[in-house]
């Protein structure tokens, strides 16, 4: 399940992974799991009255998908920092692609660490949904 220190190279990363098409059910399931019940993500009338064409995904859903992509690769216990900036909204029907790149491989005291550059891309439009960074220890 875990990737070894020698397998990690600056400028390289794991295979990209594709998700979707994202559905309204995915949004609702995430809202139930997270406790964020903002109606703009599931109530069509509310979203339209707020000026949007339809409901859109919770930013923290695609952030969570990206987090799981990283911990699948480097281990659930090893994450030490995970940060995201939200860019484009994600809409029902979108396919997403997660990618990760090692930007720095280093020793910090007695711990070996990697810093990652992360992206969630909307496959259809090519737009960036999330730009992220993470730090993992590598036991």
């Amino acid at each position: 399940m875990s990737t070894s220190w020698d397998d990690l190279t600056e400028g390289a990363g794991p295979a990209p992974r594709e998700y979707g098409p994202l559905t309204r059910t995915d949004f609702v399931r995430y809202q139930g799991a997270s406790g964020d019940f903002n109606p703009i993500h599931h109530d069509e009338e509310f979203a339209k009255s707020s000026g949007f064409p339809t409901v859109f995904s919770v930013g923290m859903l695609q952030a969570g998908i990206l987090g799981a992509y990283c911990t699948d690769w480097l281990g659930a216990e090893n994450v030490r920092r995970f940060a995201v900036q939200f860019r484009e909204q994600v809409w029902p029907g979108d396919h997403l692609e997660c990618t990760a790149t090692v930007v720095r491989k280093y020793e910090d005291g007695r711990e070996r660490k990697v810093d990652l550059g992360l992206l969630v891309t909307r496959k259809e439009s090519g737009g960036t949904a999330i730009k992220g960074e993470a730090t993992f220890v590598v036991p």
Partner: protein
């Protein structure tokens, strides 16, 4: 109108138990099939799991509610989690306390001023050790986001 005097304001500490069933539910909702989350009897929390603090706080008492943001013009700009060791395991009892950390303005690309509000939540174990910190950036745009 955003009230900058709210910087430094804190809420009351909230107890937040880390629960196995909630971790499993969260892992599935974020499309993870990692056995570390769904099969382990005492799994660690996924990287963004502490957002479930939502279940334990009352929104109207949050310091962010006192800042005076216009909810119709509000965007979630970013989110950061820092862990001072492995993420907390199911069965851990944490205490969370949130403060307004910073309020600042930037000119938007399409004109108008955007207001950024950063809140920081500290998660501590029963001994008072800092386990994790969450930094959330809310953005009030000049116009409703369309």
């Amino acid at each position: 109108m955003v009230d900058k005097s709210t910087v430094g304001l804190r809420d009351e500490p909230t107890e937040i138990p880390i629960e196995r069933g909630k971790i499993r539910e969260f892992a599935r909702a974020t499309m993870s099939h990692n056995p570390a989350y769904v099969e382990d009897r005492s799994p660690v929390a996924p990287p963004t799991f502490l957002t479930t603090l939502n279940f334990w706080t009352r929104g109207t008492e949050s310091p962010l509610a006192k800042v005076g943001l216009d909810l119709r013009r509000l965007l979630h700009g970013g989110q950061e989690y820092v862990f001072h060791g492995p993420p907390p395991r199911a069965g851990t009892e944490l205490t969370a306390q949130t403060r307004v950390d910073n309020i600042y303005e930037k000119e938007g690309k399409r004109g108008g001023t955007m207001t950024f509000v950063e809140t920081v939540t500290e998660f501590r174990d029963p001994s008072g050790n800092l386990v994790a910190e969450a930094r959330s950036t809310a953005i009030e745009t000049a116009q409703a986001p369309t």
